[in-house]
Symmetry: C2
């Protein structure tokens, strides 16, 4: 049992929680809580840490899975130090990062004629990004593509907000969003940029064929250059004095409009 | 100029930021930042506090409005202490709370045949609540009704996430959500409960007439008793392993579906 705050593993977990650099160097990220452990793909889990107080309960619920994994028990106070949450559930694990490329995303698609992607430029809020993963899975998205400056998906707050969707929705970061958009267009995917100056509303297009939505940064929207790479512009109408919608809300409205149209396809 | 951390006004602002009780006792709340000041209705502003470093800029942009208000200049370090944000913009004000009742909400409606309300039961996340105000205004909602256990709208984090919509969307807290639902129904408003066990999807209903959506707590959804007071149940379909959507996302999808139908009304 680990009982020392200065134990090497304890310091490693704290580093992985706090620093993107440490996560990327090791190719690992931290997931916390029972649901995130239960849904984690077994072959990606490097190690599990369990607080002493939670051991009996977790062994009785997840004994089989735990038996197949490398598990370390940690004293309660040390566990709480490792945890990034205010009310730790007594379990966290180190999970190997995903390494997808655009080919993986395109190949993983079940139904090539009805691809649905979302592209995000420079989103900064971890909660927004996680929420887009969660809603994206719900709306049947085939993949999420992010510009390099987008907040780290492996940030613990982002991971929590995905509610497990990070395990199931393929994604990657691109160094050149315009280049990626060109690749999508060559694959018969129409790219729609969410842009306040669009003259057409989002529900005036037909999303039943290959579709990718392009959504910009919370404060500034899309860069002109990036929007210029898209096929079409769209906007979500806004009443009152509202100047913009939250990025996760805008993404959700677009993805569920595509889902609605596809369900109601003749 | 206020230069002491122990000044009475400084302590008052900190209390108002931190404690719902202090806010309700005084009938005030704190708004921060240039946009929130610029949009605040002048007749509700009790006092404005400006950091010394921001005075010249703010006087040149908002001199007329400031001249009509009670303004106190505060030394920079004391202002940062009063502020609830990480990067204070140098202006905050005390604003008088709104006191709406259900009659006000029903009377304020422009178009009585096309009322749109959203009802929230026990939402706990300040960011979610603020986002629902913002999206609600965007979708043309006529009012927001919250159960008494819902997080305080005047919480500084909630206020920030409304992006000013709190000034413009009428709202109230009810002690008895079922009683309020009955009143809405007597006013020809159909109440739709978002409920995972519904057999009908949200886009199978016609929201062109008086409509109120009822959305439950983030973790537990609606109480059975509350859902039972509604006219109809609906659910948002979810692919993959998603068990629920974020409350602000679900609310946004519903409100924008109503908006879409109303725009496309024959």
């Amino acid at each position: 049992m680990i009982t020392s705050h200065s134990n090497k593993s304890v310091r490693e977990v704290i580093q992985l929680n706090q620093k993107a650099k440490a996560r990327n160097r090791q190719g690992l990220f931290v997931v916390e809580g029972i649901k995130m452990f239960a849904e984690a793909p077994e072959d990606r889990i490097e190690r599990v840490y369990i607080a002493k107080r939670a051991e009996t309960d977790l062994r009785s619920s997840y004994g089989d899975k735990l038996d197949r994994l490398s598990v370390e028990i940690v004293s309660d106070d040390v566990f709480d130090r490792m945890s990034d949450t205010q009310t730790p559930q007594g379990i966290l694990c180190l999970v190997r990062q995903f390494q997808y490329g655009i080919e993986d995303l395109l190949e993983a698609v079940h139904d090539k004629k009805h691809i649905l992607f979302i592209l995000l430029e420079d989103l900064q809020d971890p909660g927004n990004l996680g929420t887009i993963f969660r809603t994206g899975e719900g709306a049947g998205v085939d993949g999420i593509i992010m510009s390099r400056q987008t907040v780290d998906i492996y940030n613990p707050k982002t991971i929590r907000s995905t509610m497990g969707s990070v395990y199931r929705v393929p994604f990657f970061y691109t160094d050149d969003l315009c280049e990626t958009i060109r690749t999508l267009r060559e694959n018969d995917i129409t790219v729609y940029a969410a842009h306040l100056e669009s003259t057409r509303y989002y529900d005036e297009y037909d999303y039943c064929r290959g579709t990718a939505f392009l959504v910009g940064n919370e404060g500034n929207g899309l860069r002109g250059e990036t929007a210029g790479c898209a096929d079409e512009y769209l906007r979500i109408p806004m009443e009152g004095s509202v100047e913009s919608l939250n990025a996760a809300v805008a993404s959700s409205i677009l993805l569920y409009e595509a889902h609605r149209q596809r369900r109601n396809m003749p």
